[in-house]
């Protein structure tokens, strides 16, 4: 169950139309390391997580990623909402405009559409949490790359906030791995799969 809160987690007020910038940051909506992939990854992984507290953490971080998705979509929307026909010809946005006008559609910056392959759910707690650590770092690198090439402070400030959250989530997932390890065989963490061989799991 979810409830909606009618506000952004971080304010977005972009006063300059820039389809080129929109075509870049949209990758954090529908790209391989974007917020849609992040939220769906964590919210899919949580069901079979053998530890209740880690399932709870995946729920809370997955929920925050939905709020990040909303921030990214808001930025793309504001960058393009006053788009003129002439501006729609901008390289990098023209092809998107033909298919989607100025509506939001999940795609990577390079044009690949969002697919379920972009989030992983393997069914082994160590594997999935290691995936999540990498996912947070990949998202952080993407934000680093965006911040490096975008000058407008109205765009940079929300991106900087989102980048910081990747670092915090990375920290929390690291703690979650340690939590999982404490329920495993201390002599061999790979002796069994905690999500499948449940008879071995320490409560």
């Amino acid at each position: 169950m979810w409830t909606y809160e009618k506000r952004l987690q971080f304010p977005v007020n972009i006063t300059q139309t820039c389809p080129k910038t929109a075509s870049l940051i949209i990758t954090q909506f529908g790209g391989p390391d974007g917020e849609l992939a992040a939220s769906m990854r964590y919210l899919a992984q949580r069901y079979s997580m053998p530890c209740r507290e880690v399932g709870g953490l995946l729920t809370d971080i997955g929920t925050e990623e939905l709020a990040h998705l909303e921030i990214i979509c808001t930025m793309v929307y504001q960058l393009t909402k006053s788009l003129t026909a002439e501006q729609a010809k901008t390289a990098g946005f023209d092809a998107y405009y033909v298919d989607h006008t100025t509506a939001l559609w999940p795609t990577a910056a390079a044009g690949a559409p969002f697919t379920a392959y972009e989030f992983q759910s393997k069914g082994d707690a160590l594997t999935d949490l290691t995936e999540d650590l990498a996912a947070e770092q990949k998202a952080r690198t993407t934000y680093d790359n965006l911040i490096r090439i975008i000058d407008n402070p109205e765009v940079r400030e929300p991106l900087k906030f989102l980048r910081e959250r990747e670092v915090v989530h990375f920290q929390r997932f690291g703690e979650a791995i340690e939590k999982i390890k404490s329920t495993l065989n201390a002599k061999n963490f790979y002796y069994y799969n905690a999500e499948f061989d449940k008879q071995f799991v320490k409560k």
Binding site: T3, Y4, E5, K6, R7, L8, Q9, F10, P11, V12, N13, I14, T15, Q16, T17, E53, G56, L57, D60, I61, E64, E70, C73, T74, Y77, Q78, K81, S82, E154, V168, H169, R172, E175, A176, K179
Partner: protein, 98 residues
């Protein structure tokens, strides 16, 4: 009257504190200092959310109160008429270029 933007900023800040402490407490559920900070921030957030709903519009359905919400006639399509106030106010993605 408190400025809408200022009040929303305060709500964003205290909500961020609550959110970040929640994630921390998910992995440190025995940290009593963090629990005290959580209680203080969560209480402040609750009263700010209700104050904002009373003065402007509700941000969650839990804050909807048709009898007391939106006493001002701003940001509503139904000034002076009893109505469901969840429909009032801007959507989160509005802003920027008008």
């Amino acid at each position: 009257m408190t400025d809408r933007k200022q009040m929303l900023k305060e709500i964003s800040e205290i909500s961020f504190t609550v959110n970040d402490l929640t994630l921390y407490l998910d992995t440190h559920p025995l940290d009593t200092n963090a629990m005290a900070a959580f209680s203080e921030a969560a209480g402040k957030r609750k009263s700010l959310m209700q104050a904002y709903a009373n003065q402007f519009e509700p941000l969650t359905v839990d804050c909807v109160c048709p009898d007391t919400n939106n006493e001002s006639d701003m940001n509503t399509n139904y000034p002076g008429t009893k109505h469901f106030t969840w429909v009032d106010g801007p959507l989160p993605w509005e802003g920027g270029i008008s």
